[in-house]
């Protein structure tokens, strides 16, 4: 028998001011799955990073644009998608710089995608440039991967 899926959606203006609200949303969803607090915290962080990228790199803080976060959970996993209507970018194609090279280059960026990949079990991107781009992230429940 198929497990019951629960679906949650949040849409907010593209502004870093709304990241706290996005994390709250993710926390609430995570609590419904019975995930451990550290896992929920990590999920918040991964989604924050994905949304911050959309807000900063896709929409340039244009608050007339919207960031959409969709979460679907069942008894096995939480799937979260961050959706934008921007030009389309595939972060899975980026090879994250080493921390050492970032440090010696005095760069402050380049850590977000690395965090997302480290924190989630699956990361994929579905691109329709100008129409809809979705970053899909999956976290399996009771998975021991940090």
């Amino acid at each position: 028998m198929a497990a019951i899926e629960k679906k949650f959606t949040l849409e907010v203006p593209s502004s870093t001011e709304n990241l706290a609200m996005i994390r709250d949303f993710v926390k609430r969803v995570g609590r419904q799955t019975g995930m451990e607090e550290q896992e929920i915290f990590n999920l918040e962080l991964a989604v924050d990073e994905a949304c911050a990228n959309v807000i900063e790199h896709v929409y340039g803080n244009d608050t007339s644009k919207e960031v959409i976060i969709r979460a679907i959970c069942d008894d096995k996993e939480v799937r979260i998608s961050v959706i934008d209507m921007g030009r389309g970018f595939d972060p899975t194609g980026v090879t994250p710089a080493t921390i050492d090279s970032l440090v010696s280059g005095r760069k402050s960026g380049g850590l977000g995608i690395r965090l997302i990949r480290a924190l989630m079990d699956e990361v994929s991107y579905e691109i329709s440039p100008g129409q809809k781009n979705e970053l899909h992230m999956v976290k399996r429940l009771n998975s021991k991967r940090r």
Partner: protein, 117 residues
């Protein structure tokens, strides 16, 4: 609700103590960055960032540590990080920050590391 954010800076004995409180995300990181920047341009390169009341940090905040560490070390200083809550420490560790930064339990130990306990 998460705590809002604040950053407090104080100087004594040639050390700058930067206390972070609440969350550092892409929204609040610029304020943290400005605080560190202000120390560095004023020639203060011995920094302790006290994270006892830091509830959350994302890459935007972590990037602040990264972008200044070479400069302060080049001037004979350092950025020491102390008081991390376990869940926040985990974020630093995922990125390998413990291999680059001196991460200490509390302010006292951080001061000792600078040789001014």
């Amino acid at each position: 609700m998460s705590n809002p954010f604040s950053v407090q800076v104080s100087c004594d004995e040639g050390l700058s103590l930067i206390r972070l409180e609440g969350f550092v995300d892409a929204h609040t990181a610029p304020e943290f960055e400005a605080a560190v920047q202000n120390e560095v341009v004023s020639g203060r390169h011995r920094l302790i960032v006290d994270c006892e009341k830091l509830s959350y940090i994302s890459s935007a905040g972590l990037g602040v540590f990264m972008s200044f560490i070479e400069e302060v070390r080049g001037s004979g200083g350092d950025i020491k990080i102390c008081g991390l809550l376990p869940r926040v420490k985990h974020t630093f560790e995922i990125l390998g920050f413990h291999e680059i930064f001196d991460i200490l339990d509390n302010e006292t130990i951080a001061r000792q590391r600078f040789g001014t306990a």
